[in-house]
Amino acid sequence: MTENSKIERVEPIESFSRRDLLRLGVGAGAASLLSACGWKGGKLGRSAFAAAGDLNDWAGEHLWLSPSRLAPTYELAERTPEAAFPAYFISRPVPTLADPAAWGLEIGGLVSRPMRLTLDQLQTLPRLTYTVKHHCVEGWTAIGTWTGVPLAAVAALVEPLPSARYLRFESFDPGYYNGFDLKSAMHPQTILAYAFSDRPLTPQRGAPLRLYSPVKLGYKMTKYLTRIDWTADRPGGYWEDRGYPWFGGI
């Protein structure tokens, strides 16, 4: 008989060894420590987040996003009261144009025909209106009606080059910018919106022109647009650079 089996024998029934208890304690202790310190995961943890983030971005674009599935639409009566529909911007006070008449949207980057479009010109392009649910990354939702020109219609005008993979959107809300993958940008419901609730955008909603797409979280839809570039490399973004998911698709 070996020493080990003798030791096992004299152990009382209904017990677990000190080692078991230690293992359990170490596990539970580590876990609560993680939580208590708001631990970001260390170097290994951060690269795990980066790897998982890349995987989720990739899956968001290539597995989850259908190029043709439309976001559900709602009745006008279901709309969220405007006062209850939040509007976010990063600068204070709300960004406004000193001279709205001088505003134009610059479109360039990897396109054959870079151009500048005024609001009037944008409004003569194909028009899409829908009443959809807005999903904020914070967890709230609100239903609203948006009107604008499909980004795909603008793309048809400027003729992106085959090397273009992403779009970069810039804003006169100083510092705000972000990017879309081509597939999300060409989704039939992705628009450059100039009206909310059947009226021209107010400064709070991103006047004079904002990006809108019901297949994206709110922070992906740059307001106060000034410029759009088709790019080969993935642009960052105001919130994305601070740690929010890049793809942000829903």
Binding site: R9, I13, E14, S15, F16, S17, D20, R23, L24, G27, A31, S32, L34, S35, A36, G38, W39, K40, G41, A48, F49, A52, G53, L55, N56, W64, L65, S66, R69, A71, P72, T80, P81, A83, A84, F85, P86, K133, H135, C136, V137, E138, G139, W140, T141, A142, I143, P214, V215, W239, R242, G243, Y244, P245, G249, I250
Partner: protein, 254 residues
């Protein structure tokens, strides 16, 4: 056998035995080995503890995410249902991630191992046939009732059971289902447009989010009860979940 019968006299010492030289001192006759059965195979043990940690991380990061909008229902609409945590920002000690984006990082990173662990466990249950000792069936209802009476001390005898009693089967079937539902509601609020059918199945985004949050408290309630019962009723089962071998009071097996 009557009391009056004299006890059988002890056998006289054997003179031969005394002269025998035994290099090893005669040990006491071996104790009858405590009943020790292999209760949990390694896939069950590994997934159990992996799941305990993953669930802790999912819940803590989920409570962080909840703080982004600590209520339920569309903006401007009345609350969806009762919520004792309306407007509550949970204390830092139970949150993971530090801020919303950090909580999302943890949640969307751990979600994959959480789902894979669940799928691996399901595969193990099917391949090994272990599901048979865990699945709560209609025929378990009366047995569960008998077990409940025992726990309430209305019945003295512990009802006969297989590997798990009927209440345990109910609990373990429920908790697996809860895991499936929390993952399903999670996907419903992760991709409410791409998976709009799933989101609609749970009554829309806001209700799916409410159900996802409700699952947290069912998990917490289950875990508290689970731990109380392990230590209060059958502490040997903790060792069994670590080493695999069970040597406690309820060794009966299917």
């Amino acid at each position: 056998m009557s009391e009056s019968e004299p006890a059988e006299p002890l056998a006289p010492p054997d003179p031969e035995a005394e002269v025998m030289v035994d290099p090893v001192p005669e040990a006491a006759p071996p104790l009858p080995a405590p009943t020790s059965v292999l209760r949990h195979r390694w896939p069950a043990r590994v997934t159990h503890w992996a799941n305990a940690l993953l669930l802790l991380g999912m819940i803590a990061s989920g409570l962080q995410i909840y703080g982004g909008f600590p209520r339920f229902g569309l903006r401007g609409a009345p609350p969806l249902g009762p919520n004792p945590f309306e407007g509550v920002r949970f204390p830092a000690v139970v949150r993971l991630g530090g801020w919303l984006a950090g909580g999302l990082d943890w949640h969307f990173t751990l979600a994959w191992p959480f789902v894979l662990t669940g799928l691996f466990y399901l595969g193990f249950l099917i391949v090994s046939g272990e599901w048979k000792s865990l699945l709560f069936r209609p025929s378990d209802v009366p047995k569960a009732w008998a077990m409940q009476l025992y726990y309430l001390r209305l019945k003295k005898e512990h009802p006969p059971q297989g590997k798990h009693n009927a209440l345990q089967k109910a609990a373990y079937s429920f908790i697996f289902l809860l895991g499936v539902l929390s993952a399903a509601t999670g996907f419903a609020i992760y991709k409410p447009v791409q998976l709009s059918w799933l989101t609609a199945l749970f009554g829309g985004y806001e209700r799916a989010r409410y159900s996802h949050f409700l699952a947290v408290w069912l998990f917490v309630g289950f875990t508290l009860l689970h731990v109380v019962l392990v230590f209060g009723v059958d502490p040997a089962s903790l060792r069994a979940m670590i080493t695999g071998r069970y040597r406690g009071r309820f060794p009966s097996h299917d």
